[in-house]
């Protein structure tokens, strides 16, 4: 139960904190492995799950079938590009009122919500205007 220190976990956490995008377990693995060649995918998954359960990081299920991870645990929203699949932080005003709206007339207790916005990101808008054709990442 008592958590012990681990160099692998530190590297994973450090890597995640240095990224503004939202890497998948595999991306974390590929990158941490550069500095820590012996680390295993299992260890990456174990630590990501551990960190997420402790609330140190967030697990994002954006709908592409793969979990993404975010070291920024402050409340914020994400945009997912249906063209390139990138997951982007949104800076927007608080919309917590939607919970009150949802709770009106509902007999359970609403404790939270998860919202993902979808569409075409700025980069893909430009590209498609120039005739390119990236592939969709969403299932």
């Amino acid at each position: 139960m008592a958590l012990k220190h681990s160099a692998q976990r530190d590297k994973i956490m450090a890597f995640l904190m240095g990224r503004k995008d939202h890497p998948t377990a595999d991306v974390v693995y590929m990158n941490v492995r550069k500095e820590y060649p012996n680390i295993s995918l299992g260890t990456v998954y174990r630590n990501l799950t551990l960190l997420a359960n402790m609330g140190e990081i967030m697990r994002l299920r954006v709908g592409d079938g793969v979990d993404h991870f975010d070291a920024d645990t402050s409340p914020h929203y994400h945009f997912v590009c249906t063209e390139c699949g990138s997951v982007i932080d949104l800076e927007m005003e608080n919309i917590d009122t939607i919970q009150d709206i949802a709770g009106a007339g509902f007999d359970g207790k609403i404790a939270g919500h998860v919202t993902y916005f979808y569409g075409i990101c700025g980069d893909c808008s430009k590209e498609s205007a120039s005739g390119q054709k990236p592939e969709t990442a969403l299932q």
Copy 2:
């Protein structure tokens, strides 16, 4: 390309329309099999995916790692009980303004959003008040 009629697909669709909850592929399989003993899980998945792609039904990814399906394709929101895992329809006023809020200051184009509300459903609130202890369904 041209769709042909299939008794299995009809049964799947009929079953889904007769449910107010939001069954998983396996639940659909188990139930349709009662009337159609030879149907295979693969056929259920194939048809659910087909129907979802045609827009006849909706695929819900509520975060428990399993896809749920909903024959009600009208715009509405869902509540997921973190206690029992049940997925419940919410009747609430439109919150599409959150897309405008999200889009302000974002350089991409927001085309849609997915929102799930979490908490304790009415039934579980009563149960926990009486000292019971159901298990969590969310990962």
